[in-house]
Structures are given as C-alpha cells and as structure tokens.
C-alpha cells in the first residue's frame, strides 16, 4: 500500500516539478529514483521486473516508443544491483555514487534503443540540454526524495 502511495506521489511530483521548470531546463527524473528505491527493497529479479514495468508505464504516459524508458530503467536497476556488491547503499556518500553511476547506465540503455531504432546516437544538444540538467537536478533532489521514501516505506533491508 505504501509502495503504491510512493508511486503515486512520485508521479505527481514528477509532473509538478516538470511544470515548475522553465522550458529550457530538463526536469529531474523521479521515475529513475523511484525505480532505484523500489529495487533497493526487492531481490534483483523482482527489482528488474519492477523497473521494467515502471519504464513501460513511463513510455505509455509519454506517448512514445514502447520499451524506450523501460530499457533505461531496467539497465539502471541492473547497474544498481551490480554496484551494490561493491558499495554500501546504506552509506550516504556511497549511495550518491551508486545513483550517479546507475543514472549513467540508464542513459546507456537509452542509447542502445536509440541506436536500435535510428542507427544513430543522441545529438550533442541532447547531452547538454537534457542529460546534464537531468543528472544534476536528479542528484540534487535525490537526498530529500530518498529521505521521504524511507519515511513512507520504513527502513530498508
């Protein structure tokens, strides 16, 4: 029930923050943070399935290609499980490093699908105008979001 509330809260928060951002600034990615929070509380098989499902939902709500965000989020979750073996998710500094690298992995997933669909990569303007602001804002808003998620779901494993 609380997980459902967190999903609902995150989606409304995403649209709220997106609406508050000026046009030229890409919003932070709460879908990504939500996928990582849920992945941190489930075993890897369930976590990958949840991330993939969230990504599909994002594809459906964005009226875009099915599988695009799904591949991004499942790649981020996969990276998360890999990194969790090396770094301690419970430590705040390590947590930020994991989030940073998982975010990069998410965009790696995007790149795979963009290349699959168009035989090309993303233009430099997308890296500067979307990737960079999204990364910075997501990392800045990650600590309060994780705090809220923990308050809602209780302490993790």
């Amino acid at each position: 029930m609380n997980a459902f509330l967190l999903i609902l809260f995150s989606l409304i928060l995403q649209s709220l923050v997106s609406g508050l951002m000026p046009d030229w600034l890409s919003p932070p990615d709460f879908w990504f943070l939500l996928a990582i929070v849920l992945a941190s509380r489930h075993n890897p098989y369930a976590g990958l399935a949840i991330a993939f499902g969230l990504g599909l939902l994002q594809d459906l709500t964005s009226a875009g290609y099915l599988g695009f965000h799904a591949l991004g989020l499942v790649t981020a979750a996969y990276a998360f499980y890999g990194l969790r073996g090396w770094l301690h998710w419970e430590e705040p500094a390590a947590r930020m490093v994991i989030l940073f690298l998982a975010f990069i992995a998410k965009w790696g997933g995007y790149l795979i699908l963009v290349y699959w669909m168009r035989y090309t990569t993303l233009p430099p303007s997308t890296w500067l105008g979307v990737f960079l602001p999204e990364l910075v804002l997501t990392m800045l808003l990650a600590p309060p979001y994780l705090y809220l998620a923990e308050a809602l779901l209780g302490p993790g494993e």
Binding site: Q14, F52, L66, V74, T75, S125, V130
Partner: protein, 258 residues
C-alpha cells in the same frame, strides 16, 4: 543468471520498440490520454504556483492593493468573469484566424504535458467528440505549437515542434529559402536551409513547406545561432528558439487539416 534475465529484458525492450514503432504513438497515446488527469494534478499545481510566484514577485504591496481592489471589483468580476474568459478565447481565436489561417476548429485547454525529458508532448482536454483529429495543426497567438498525433473521445496528444520526432517545413520570414526544422529537446530547433539562404541571428522563421501539414506563414522560431558550415556541406544549419513558451501554455488553437 541475473545477467541473462537482464539480457532478456533488453531483448524484450528492443522487440517491443520495433513491433510498436509503426503504431507509436497510437498505443501509448491511448494510455497517455487516460493517465493525463493524474499528471494533470501536478501540472495544474505547477502552473498555479508559477502564476502565484510571478504575481507575488511583481506585486509586493499585494495585500494592501488587494484589499482596496477587492471591494471595488468583486461585483464586476462576478458578472463579467465568464464573459471575459469567452471574449479572451474568441480574441485569441480571431487573432490566429486573421494572422495564420482561416480554419480554426477549436480553442482547447492544455491539461498536462508528458513527463519525459526527451519527448515534448502536450495533452489537450478536447478530443474526437469536439471535432479534433490526427494531423490537425496546433498553434497559439505567439506561434506554432505542433500537430495532433493521437486523439480519444475527450483528449488529444500534441507533438510539439521541439519534440525529437518533429519535422516542420520552414522559411525565413523576410527572405526566400525553404528548409526543415528538426525538434531538439528541451527547447530548441535545428534548422537546415539551402546554403544560399540569407539569414542572421534574430531572424524569424515561419512555416513554409508546400503542401505540408501546416498553413503558410505561421511564426515558428527565432534564430539564435548559425552553426559553422563544414567544407562541401549542402545545407546551412542554424539553431532556433521557438516563439512559444510551452510551459506557460494554458490554451491552444487547433486548426483544420490542410
């Protein structure tokens, strides 16, 4: 084992995207239309917060002025609010009607926008039942917004001109030379023009494709940079900023299909 599961998801995503590429955005747009009210909550809250922020910033003596004005205008507002809204809608429609095209179909409210950083799409609060259909150009008093790519009974999805899937035929407002404007999120356009086109920073681009999706002469964007041309290049490439601020749009004007 986990690696195999992950690879399975990769294959599934690639297969899904390939299978639905021809139907996209038909299938997702159906869901987007139904989930719009959920995202509309945050979108509407954000719009209200931005409006409130602007108002408070502009009017520091808000409280005093508000007390003075409240009494004076309360009765006027009550009687005229509905009328004012209607007049404003008609004024915008007329403005577009006179300056852009004579076939206004509807003035539709923007109820939500997509939450992806890579796509740039808007959800309108009108659909099939209100006469909207796929392929209709969407514009505003400031300039071109995009095109309707999917509709349901009471919702429509608009692909804005900065969406990466968007292609708009354009020409400089005051010079010859037709080209194509490609959407580049979050808020710019990459325009390819013939090399002979005379264009400078600050010039306005308008719609200009022959037998295209959009009526001729609708303002689209302002040139912000002229990219250096590589030797032997067949096109001149410029970057442009849309004239419409998509985040501030509350209503748009839908035009009939050409």
């Amino acid at each position: 084992m986990l690696r195999l599961v992950y690879l399975g998801y990769v294959l599934l995503a690639l297969t899904l995207s390939a299978l639905t590429a021809h139907t996209a955005p038909t299938l997702p747009a159906e869901v987007a239309a139904y989930t719009a009210p959920l995202f509309g909550i945050g979108h509407r809250m954000a719009q209200n917060l931005r409006a409130a922020g602007r108002y408070l910033f502009d009017r520091r003596d808000l409280r005093t002025e508000n007390a003075m004005l409240r009494e004076e205008v309360a009765w006027l507002k009550e009687g005229n609010l509905e009328l004012k809204v209607e007049v404003e809608r008609l004024r915008r429609a007329l403005e577009v009607h006179e300056s852009q095209a004579p076939n206004v179909v509807a003035v539709a409210p923007v109820i939500s926008e997509d939450t992806s950083g890579l796509y740039r799409r808007l959800i309108l609060g009108m659909g099939d039942a209100d006469g909207l259909s796929v392929g209709m150009p969407v514009t505003s008093a400031h300039g071109l917004v995009g095109v309707i790519i999917e509709t349901t009974a009471h919702r429509a999805v608009v692909r804005t001109i900065v969406d990466p899937e968007s292609r708009v035929g354009v020409r400089p407002a005051d010079a010859p030379g037709r080209g194509i404007a490609y959407g580049e999120p979050p808020a710019s356009l990459r325009v390819e023009l013939p090399v002979e086109t005379q264009i400078a920073i600050g010039d306005v681009l308008v719609t200009g494709s022959l037998r295209g999706l959009f009526p001729e002469g609708i303002p689209v964007a302002r040139v912000t940079a002229i990219l250096p041309r590589s030797p032997g290049a067949l096109r001149k490439v410029v970057r442009a900023e849309p004239l419409v601020k998509f985040g501030l749009l509350e209503e748009v004007v839908v035009l009939g299909k050409l």
